[in-house]
């Protein structure tokens, strides 16, 4: 087969459908570009809101915006920038680059990418629509209760935030899961962890942080929405709740979030800087160590947002020290970069300009961050403009500057042209000067006592000239950003044509074609070093020539190499789905759910939920040997490639479900935390009275579940061990046992006398019940579907991969059941007896 034919056939398998069919695209390059473009559109909305804020504050006593509109504007500015710009754009960048850098053709769950994108798009539009309608959320982007609660925010604004943002978060969590599994399992053969591009370490850390960091916020949003809609008093001190529980859950997400944004940006710096220094990173292992350490420590800082809420000084001191400690891995990164520049020969091109801007601004923001970690100083400047200045230094310096640098650096991949300094340097100058003009003196504004979120001020406060200069700076900054956009757009027309690998980079994405092919690489090379394109520049020709592995396409499947997580040894071939309408359909139905909840049409919501569930299960049906995926063929064993993953006991689905269960576990632990917190730490908490929950019912229910899970385990192990002819019947028994468990569990819930609207603990108890019922129900339905798949021939004694995939879910369901029984039912009784 000629090379041209090979590419032709590859394109036929991998290209999106034409025209409207593009909406069914699942390819990572297409989806990630949509993420980034949508994010940039939201970014400009966020900038517009910022300009409204700066205009209002330019002079004392202005009346451009009234207090209410101003509140909507600052709330939406923060919300858009965080949830609809920063995170999705970085995810988009990661989704675009990671598969190309690790030498594979797509992410492992392409339909999930598309689903995530549509959830983001629809959720974002729903949130944005509230602003257009003039009913946007108005309690600040961190939505502190009771202000955001039903009594003080009676309109639908808070609901838009809680429901819309939770909807958007589906995309973050799904990107987190999929990036984790992709990085761990689909690196080109030979690319061990030690040879992985440094960017992927950063993204792996970010992805895992999303997996653990977002669930607390999702739980908090669910609780607050339940409080608003169903009067369940989780945060109401009069009923034993506590508004501080919201703050804990929010910042448990909110602080890691800062590093979720910073790490990919630092990863960009670590990727670009060595290229322009013309040498490998001087301290690859130092950086990896810093990234891992940052990932962990950043989960131990959240209380530093809460130093003024009256937490005991000892606890504040723990968090204060931890907040300062996190400066060490960050400083290590800065000095590794510096050592790289020091020992290299630096070419100073446009992306480097942005990296230098990043360094100055980020170091400045880092320093004020260390200052803020000092408790007494924080008591003074907390909630003032000093803090606003600080976090804009960290976020704009630490995220936007590297991101723009990255945009220029990877632009040739999109346009085939090289960016130039001509307009670019002036745009940089405007942004840099505008930024510092806005925010440098804003530190002083804060020190002179200007609090956050005031819509106006009086002249005698002495803040006039500072605000005016910040406003002028703000407009310079915005002009600069528009100029960057203009430069990029003009570049597509006038930029000089780029040679292959225009910056002389070391990473594989430059071998994917300019613009990259829909399948990235016609053949997958074996990787021997950390710098493939420096050490074997011939790859740029040999990869598209089909000289390496996985170059066959006659089967018509989209295939990736599946390699071992640590060593990168070649193990299997992952077959992944082709374009599909299910992501769009399911996301649209979920958007319908979101809207029906917003408009409080609860009956409708129940119907939509059922539809969504049915559709999601229908989507899951197209897996394994289904005709749209990888139907069985006669000559499978003839192939010289490793076996297809669905014919083995290990594949992306198994890893995906495990990472998903980590996120689920984080949500569950947040719930247990809430339960224990309300009971022990909260000032109005008391020992929960759980005597009305029938223990015999719960225990019997648990025994049924345990038996069911043990039987499932037995099935799975026998299948792995070589086959079990009666496993289909056993699977029915598993389902029957679990249905009994479910029945008893629901009975126990209904029979217990929970005072849902007057006791916070009881309300938490109900959420726990619902959580258990959801998981047990999920396990049963999924296993019932498996019995059906057995009949269809998708599962058999030799095709038992799907049985293995579900096994972790069963174990998890069993685990949370017994942990719940212990912590929710037995522990209070035991405590009382003691």
């Amino acid at each position: 087969m000629s090379n041209q034919q090979l590419h032709h056939r590859m394109a036929k398998v991998w290209d999106n459908l034409p025209g409207w069919g593009n909406l069914a695209a699942v390819n990572h390059t297409s989806i990630s570009k949509r993420f980034m473009l949508t994010g940039i559109a939201f970014f400009f909305v966020g900038i517009t809101l910022a300009m409204l804020i700066r205009t209002q504050l330019a002079k004392p006593g202005q009346s451009l915006l009234d207090a209410d509109v101003y509140a909507q504007v600052f709330t939406m500015h923060g919300t858009i920038m965080m949830f609809l710009f920063a995170i999705p754009v970085l995810e988009g960048a990661a989704m675009y680059l990671v598969p190309k850098m690790i030498g594979t053709r797509d992410l492992v769950f392409p339909r999930l990418s598309a689903f995530g994108y549509y959830c983001y798009l629809f959720g974002g539009l729903i949130v944005l629509s509230s602003l257009v309608l003039g009913i946007a959320p108005s309690s600040g982007w961190f939505m502190y209760t009771p202000l955001s609660g039903a009594e003080y925010s009676p309109g639908p604004g808070s609901d838009f935030w809680l429901l819309g943002i939770t909807f958007v978060e589906i995309s973050a969590v799904s990107a987190g899961i999929e990036l984790t599994v992709s990085i761990l399992r689909t690196r080109a053969p030979g690319m061990s962890l030690a040879k992985m591009p440094i960017f992927c370490w950063y993204i792996l850390a970010m992805a895992l942080m999303i997996v653990f960091g977002f669930p607390p916020l999702i739980l908090a949003s669910i609780l607050l929405e339940l409080e608003r809609a169903a009067q369940m008093p989780f945060f109401d001190p009069a009923a034993g709740g506590d508004p501080l529980l919201w703050q804990h859950l929010f910042w448990l997400f909110g602080h890691p979030e800062v590093y979720i944004i910073f790490l990919p940006a630092a990863g960009i710096v670590s990727t670009i800087l060595p290229v322009f220094a013309g040498r490998p990173l001087a301290g690859y292992r130092w950086l990896v160590l810093s990234v891992i350490t940052t990932g962990f420590i950043s989960f131990g800082l959240w209380v530093h947002h809460m130093f003024t809420v009256g937490i005991p000084q000892l606890a504040q001191a723990f968090f204060s020290v931890a907040s300062m400690l996190v400066a060490v891995p960050t400083a290590i990164q800065v000095f590794v970069w510096m050592a790289t520049l020091w020992t290299g020969r630096v070419r100073f091109e446009l992306p480097m300009l942005w990296i230098c801007g990043f360094l100055f601004i980020f170091v400045c923001g880092g320093l004020t961050g260390v200052m803020l970690a000092l408790v007494p100083f924080d008591w003074q400047v907390h909630d003032t403009h000093f803090v606003i200045a600080h976090f804009h230094y960290v976020l704009i310096g630490g995220m936007l500057f590297p991101l723009i640098g990255a945009l220029y650096y990877w632009l040739p991949l999109l346009s085939g042209r090289k960016p130039s300094m001509q307009l670019g340097k002036w745009a940089f100058a405007l942004v840099f000067i505008g930024f510092n003009g806005t925010f440098l003196l804003m530190h002083l504004t804060g020190l002179l006592g200007m609090p956050r979120r005031v819509f106006t001020y009086q002249s005698e406060q002495g803040w006039d000239w500072l605000n005016l200069s910040s406003s002028v700076g703000g407009f310079v900054l915005a002009t600069g950003l528009v100029m960057v956009a203009l430069d990029v757009i003009l570049h597509f027309k006038f930029g000089p044509k780029a040679k292959p690998n225009p910056w002389r980079a070391d990473t594989l994405e430059w071998a994917a074609g300019m613009p990259p092919l829909s399948y990235n690489f016609a053949s997958i090379p074996t990787i021997k070093t950390r710098h493939p394109l420096w050490d074997s520049p011939g790859l740029i020709q040999s990869i598209p020539a089909g000289a390496h592995g996985l170059a066959r396409i006659e089967h018509g499947r989209r295939e990736l190499y599946g390699t071992e997580a640590i060593s990168g040894k070649l193990k299997t071939v992952f077959h992944i789905p082709t374009h599909s309408w299910w992501p769009l359909i399911c996301a649209a139905v979920l958007a319908g759910l979101c809207i029906s909840l917003l408009t409080r049409q609860y009956l409708l919501a129940v119907g939509v939920t059922a539809t969504a569930a049915a559709l999601l299960f229908r989507w899951s049906w197209e897996n394994g040997t289904h005709k749209t995926m990888a139907p069985l063929t006669d000559n499978e064993s003839d192939s010289d490639e490793p076996p297809l993953h669905s014919r083995t006991a290990d594949g992306p689905g198994l890893w995906g479900i495990m990472v998903m269960l980590m996120a689920d576990g984080a949500l569950y632990l947040s719930l247990v935390f809430g339960w224990l917190y309300l009971w022990t730490v909260s000032p109005n908490g008391e020992l929960p009275d759980t005597s009305s929950v029938s223990r015999p019912l719960m225990l019997t229910s648990g025994i049924f579940l345990t038996l069911g899970t043990l039987l499932y385990r037995n099935i799975e192990q026998k299948l792995r061990g070589g086959g079990d002819s009666g496993f289909s019947k056993k699977l029915y028994t598993v389902c029957a046992l679990t249905v009994c468990h479910l029945g008893l569990l629901i009975w126990a819930m209904v029979a217990s006398d929970l005072k849902l609207t007057s006791r916070a603990a009881d309300a938490v108890m109900l959420v726990m019940f619902a959580f258990l019922i959801f998981h047990s129900g999920m396990s049963v339905v999924a296993s019932l579907l498996q019995t059906w798949r057995i009949k269809q021939g998708h599962i058999s004694q030799t095709l038992f991969y799907e049985v293995s995939v579900l096994y972790p879910l069963w174990l998890y369901t069993l685990g949370i059941f017994w942990v719940s029984v212990c912590s929710f039912v037995l522990l209070p009784a035991w405590w009382e007896a003691a």
Binding site: Y144, P243, W286, L325, A331, V363, F377, L447, G462
Partner: protein, 236 residues
């Protein structure tokens, strides 16, 4: 690229000559021991931070623009180790130790230690006013706190509705007013005078106007003020 450094120098200079430190809510114009401690820590951090910023940026630019030469593997390792050990680990460690050595005791001294002889005032925040109550005298005021200068006063802060932030910048740090919870903050004004207070936590529509004032009297002045008020409020 010297623009970066220039910008840093220029702004520090601006901060120094800035005339506005005397604003009514200025942290930089402290009038009590807690606020004074904090502002001392701030200036130390400011100069330290500026120094670090300039040195790091300077080194960075030097690394880029100096005359470059080739390094072998050993040489690279030496540069890397020096930089990581001094800049990456040493610099933040020393800064953190210094900060904590000065910072923790200063925070310690601001706490409302039990057993000290202090005046108690209750502040009950609501949308959008501060209800002030003197429990010993059973006196009530709105948006106005009177206290004797030179003595520590413990203010018990809670809220009726949403979360507010109680803050008198010239006297000391802030504390949140949270429904269902009472927080205590110790403040002291060194001299008689009037000090501005402001809600710091966003609390709805009129947050921007949720001011109050603290009036510090001399010791005798405070006693006579108390007497007058007692007569006024209890005989109405």
């Amino acid at each position: 690229m010297n623009r970066l450094t220039e910008c840093g120098v220029l702004s520090s200079a601006l901060l120094l000559v800035s005339p506005g430190y005397g604003a009514p809510l200025s942290i930089l114009d402290p009038a009590g021991p807690a606020a004074k401690d904090i502002v001392a820590v701030w200036w130390a951090m400011f100069w330290g931070g500026t120094l670090v910023l300039l040195v790091v940026t300077g080194l960075w630019l030097y690394a880029i623009f100096r005359r470059q030469r080739d390094y072998d593997e050993q040489g690279t390792k030496r540069v890397l180790r020096t930089m990581v050990y001094t800049g990456g680990i040493g610099l933040p460690t020393v800064s953190i130790v210094l900060l904590l050595v000065f910072g923790i005791p200063s925070g310690h001294s601001m706490l409302p230690w039990p057993g000290d002889d202090t005046l108690r005032i209750n502040v009950h925040a609501r949308q959008w006013a501060w209800e002030v109550h003197y429990p010993d005298e059973d006196l009530h005021f709105t948006d106005e706190i009177h206290l004797p200068a030179g003595t520590p006063v413990d203010i018990y802060v809670t809220s009726e509705d949403v979360i507010h932030g109680f803050w008198v910048p010239r006297l000391g740090g802030k504390i949140d007013a949270i429904p269902g919870k009472t927080n205590v903050i110790r403040l002291q004004a060194d001299k008689p005078g009037e000090y501005g207070g402001q809600c710091a936590e966003y609390c709805g529509q009129s947050h921007a106007f949720m001011h109050f004032k603290v009036v510090a009297h001399s010791e005798t002045g405070f006693k006579s003020w108390l007497t007058t008020q007692r007569e006024g409020q209890h005989h109405e």
